[in-house]
């Protein structure tokens, strides 16, 4: 069982609000990732990080931003939520090398009204 946590698990919020989705891992993994998954669809990478103070944009364009101030913490922020941001957001982490298996958190289901 992977030790990677996401909060909140579910969030319903109004348009225009600022939100932060939390992701923490206790495995000492240097790499962390955020994926977006629409219902019934595959996952798409939106952000990743090699380590502290490194962040990169993924393959799917996203209006969200991320930060990596501590190894174990990789929060995702939306400055002004819109209904188009409604989706599931999955956080993952991995060690470098060894096939870089990614371990996933339980996800945050976001609904923007």
């Amino acid at each position: 069982e992977a030790d990677i946590y996401q909060t909140p698990r579910y969030l319903v919020i109004g348009t225009g609000k600022k939100i932060t989705l939390e992701c923490s891992q206790t495995m000492g993994h240097d790499k962390m990732y955020w994926y977006q998954q629409d219902p019934g669809m595959e996952l798409h990478l939106i952000h990743y990080s090699y380590g502290v103070n490194s962040t990169e944009k993924g393959d799917l364009s996203s209006e969200s931003t991320v930060s990596r101030i501590r190894t174990e913490h990789f929060p995702l922020t939306l400055e002004s939520a819109r209904p188009s941001h409604t989706s599931q957001y999955l956080c993952a982490s991995s060690l470098s090398g060894a096939g870089e298996t990614q371990y996933f958190g339980p996800g945050t289901r976001l609904l923007v009204l």
């Binding site: 595959e42 996952l43 990478l45 090699y50 990169e56 298996t101 990614q102 996933f104 339980p106 996800g107």
Partner: protein, 115 residues
């Protein structure tokens, strides 16, 4: 470009019968391939992975997958389905992107298990 194609969006089997979930990949070099499972309202769980060692890979919960380079396939199988196997299954290829590996997900196969 690297990609994966899951050939069936839905598969329905009876409990106790074999499971076959099909996946074909496209890669310009020897890939790393994974199968993940996602149960309702739960995160993704790694079932198994192939990283250029043995071509028959055994995973958790009795699942296994065989890497066939000549067919560019990585099908997931289980001899006997259990009700708890009902979930969505994703075939994934790992691609090198800069200083890290990125995962490219298939569109998923929803497995239903009938009593």
């Amino acid at each position: 470009a690297q990609s994966v194609t899951q050939l069936d969006s839905h598969v329905s089997v009876s409990e106790g019968t074999p499971v076959l979930l099909r996946c074909n990949y496209s890669s310009s070099y020897s890939p790393s391939l994974f199968w993940y499972v996602q149960h309702p309202n739960k995160g993704l769980q790694l079932l198994l992975k192939y990283t250029s060692a043995a071509t028959l890979v055994k995973g958790i919960n009795g699942f296994e997958a065989e890497f066939k380079k000549s067919e560019t396939s990585f099908h997931l199988t289980k001899p006997s389905a259990h009700m708890s196997d009902a979930a969505e299954y994703f075939c994934v290829v790992s691609v090198r992107g800069g200083a890290t590996n990125k995962l490219i997900f298939g569109t998923g196969t929803l497995l239903a298990v009938q009593p």
